[in-house]
Amino acid sequence: MKQLRTAAIALSALLVLASVAGSLIPQFDYARQDREQVNAPAGREHWLGTDDLGRDRFSRLLHGTAVSMLLAPAAAGIAMLFAFVIGAAGGFAGGWWERTAKTTIDLFLSIPWLFLLLMVRAMLPLNTAPATSVTITFLVLGILGWAAPARILMARAQGLRRSDFILLARATGVPSWRLLGKHVMPNLRPVLVAQFWISVPVFVLAEANLSILGLGVAEPLPSLGSLLRELETMLSLRTDWCRFAALAMLVLLVSSLQFAISRREVS
């Protein structure tokens, strides 16, 4: 199991590094439209063929993977920050703080996030560059996606608060800030890390959902989600295999991340 996990981590890292490095090479221009070679099959010039605007699919896959795999962890980081501040701190503090945090978490969990995302996105300024737009999209995903990890962190923090060693530390006069920093944080870290890694594929898929609706990353910038739009109709099922490259990459990355997460940490 450990070997599988190591292989999964290595594969994820390799895919991410290759896509990031590849996207920095000017030859792989994701936006250039070769209108004379629309929907071209795979060949020497275009390794994965071209899309319906004549853009090189391989270049777009490289950039799309880089965009998704850099920004999804960033969004997960933001979500963990909120989850820790609201969930863990609320759970550890108890009393009024805990009740407020719990209500806020329940409220966020009960909101249909897709509609909330659509609403937030509709309110954003229109004239934003694609790079800014994609950053905002993931930022919004991070800001709205903290509630589920916060509930788990809260439960763990509540358990810690009632644990014998914390009671003993309190009884010996250790101040709250020191308790939080020296005793609670180290005990919450595995849960936090596990939640982080669980959130990354969730955000990649959430962005893919938005992109399928045409509300994700702005053109011409690609993301894994926006690349999946090539498969949105039945017609794509009978076309060349290159159209499935983005789906294959997404499955590979999400699966690798799932394997990379330790079952012990998740449980």
């Binding site: 605007l53 737009s133 609706l213 045409g214």
Partner: protein, 539 residues
């Protein structure tokens, strides 16, 4: 006993087959909002009205000329205020109620009732005052409007005559079919009207097809799949991708009827109070800027790449499909980025280092909003993005859900440029009054103006009113031709493409002659028939 059982089983198997073979099936893409003819405003309801409604005059979708239907003759008098119809005798509704002049009077009164707010009635509202319908005999009626109504007779193509006496009210039909069964969200079943008045040349009663089953299905993939399996007989509007797919597998079933009346266009926000920077508003209000953008867009590429050559470059508000009203003197717009830069230089724009800047040094950058989920529009916007990048303009493409988009372009005016389509159902320019009058809410680039903001908009207002009050079609056309020329010169709408009318018709359906005008495939429904072949042969 075994033989009887076999016969029964055979009969049971044959009966639905026989019914199925004379039952036309196709999909409605949305639930009809109403079955009441005067209230029809959406495409699905219009389909029901077309198939069930009896009209006094019908526009032949192929010749684009009016033909008598329930009225055997008609005369327009009093300077276009009065129309007198002579009705056919011995015509009955589907429930047996006789049809006469009283029904026409009742329908027109319903239509013009301000409380009912009939969208069909709106076209007849030419000025203040009441419409008066005078029944002169059971077969003759005169309808007088307070002001002349341009193209008055053509408007009756949309007026389905409702019975004044039938206990079934609007459900009693004079058209070839009547609504037999309606399961909301699922299907509408139409049966042949046994009292339909039309006969073919051999004296057989029309229509030939016994029933029409209209299932409600928004998913185009399912529609295509069912069509290829032979489970539905036609698709009234195909996307280019689907058309090409069907063309490969069954070329005899698809038809490209040439340019439709629909257009795709973009426009800049010119609303003075719009929450956009003043310098951008200045760009958008400049004719040179708009014309430059128009020249810099490669429409041929849009047609070829996005619509797989099933579209034509558009350069005016009327498609060439509209045979009479299209201004044939207008020249196609050429793709010329150097000419575009010259227009921009006239306004003080300078291209340096690949970036276009205005005379105050602002980089030229704007956003185009379009509807999320429309792949064709998203592709067009992305291609425009690259075309304009070549002359140093940065375009940000933003897709929004439809409600947010409408909120921005019609209420908040918080957008810079928009790319959307215009669906033209009617041929007459009067149907476009709401777009061209500067006071109108649909005057998208700068709606609800108290007085026209520019001299050319004032001129369009004048010409549109002139054509609306003129009776002679040639006089009207002269005015509307000039409107088309002004729109091409000023480019408030930058017309991009006119999509072709692409349809799919089963080889079992005989007599179909697809046209570019709605309803493309079943406009001659009463002449259509289903071949008595096994459904499997159609695949």
């Amino acid at each position: 006993m075994r033989r009887i059982l076999s016969c029964l089983l055979l009969a049971a198997a044959l009966v639905p087959c026989a019914i199925g073979q004379n039952e036309l099936k196709f999909y409605l893409r949305s639930e009809p909002k109403t079955l009441n003819p005067p209230m029809v405003a959406d495409d699905a309801s219009e389909t029901i009205r077309y198939l069930t409604g009896g009209v006094l005059l019908r526009l032949n979708r192929q010749t684009q000329r009016l033909e008598p239907e329930l009225a055997s003759a008609w005369l327009i008098t009093h300077g276009g205020r009065t129309i007198t119809f002579t009705l056919r005798p011995a015509v009955y509704y589907s429930d047996g109620t006789p049809f006469g002049a009283q029904d026409v009077k009742y329908t027109m009164e319903q239509l013009m009732d301000p409380a009912l707010r009939s969208p069909t009635g709106d076209a007849f509202r030419s000025g203040d005052g009441k419409m008066v319908a005078t029944v002169r005999s059971p077969q003759k009626i005169a309808i007088t409007f307070p002001q002349p109504v341009a193209g008055l007779d053509r408007l009756f193509d949309q007026v389905a005559i409702v019975s004044s006496q039938s206990p079934k009210h609007e459900m009693a039909a004079l058209g070839p079919y009547y609504v037999s069964d309606y399961k909301p969200g699922s299907y509408i079943y139409l049966r042949k009207n046994a009292n339909y008045w039309k006969r073919d040349a051999e004296g057989r009663q029309l229509p030939y097809i016994d029933a029409v089953k209209l299932e409600i299905q928004a998913n185009r993939d399912i529609e295509l799949m069912k069509f290829t399996r032979g489970e539905i007989h036609l698709i009234n509007s195909l996307d280019a991708d689907y058309y090409d797919r069907l063309l490969q597998s069954s070329p005899a079933k698809v038809h490209d009827s040439g340019p439709s009346l629909d257009s795709e266009q973009m426009w800049f926000n010119q609303v003075a109070k719009a929450p956009i920077p003043a310098y951008k508003l200045q760009w958008f209000q400049s004719r040179n800027f708009r014309v430059a953008i128009s020249l810099a867009i490669n429409r041929d590429d849009l047609c070829r790449v996005v619509y797989h050559s099933h579209a034509s470059p558009a350069f005016g508000p009327v498609s060439s499909a509209n045979k009479f009203w299209f201004n044939s003197r207008m020249q196609p717009l050429r793709f010329d980025q150097q000419a575009a830069l010259q227009f921009l230089r006239q306004d003080g724009f300078q291209l340096s280092g690949g970036q276009l800047r205005d005379r105050e040094g602002h980089p030229v950058e704007f956003s185009i909003v379009t509807s999320a989920g429309s792949r064709a529009r998203e592709r067009m916007a992305t291609m425009i993005q690259q075309d304009l990048h070549a002359i140093g303009i940065t375009v940000n493409v933003t897709t929004l859900d439809f409600a947010s988009l409408i909120q921005r372009i019609s209420e908040d005016f918080n957008y810079e440029a928009a790319l959307l389509g215009l669906v033209n159902v009617e041929l007459d320019p009067n149907s476009q009054m709401n777009v061209w009058l500067s006071s109108s809410e649909e005057h998208q680039w700068n709606p609800k103006q108290k007085t026209p903001a520019t001299p050319w908009e004032a001129e369009i207002d004048r010409l549109m009113r002139a054509q609306a009050s003129a009776l002679d079609d040639r006089t009207r056309k002269r005015s509307f031709d000039r409107v088309q020329e002004i729109v091409a010169e000023q480019a408030p709408f930058i017309y991009l493409v006119n999509k072709n009318s692409l349809v799919a018709v089963s080889t079992l359906l005989q007599g179909a002659q697809p046209v570019a005008v709605r309803p493309q495939t079943y406009w001659n429904i009463e002449q259509l028939s289903l071949a008595l072949e096994s459904a499997s042969n159609a695949k």
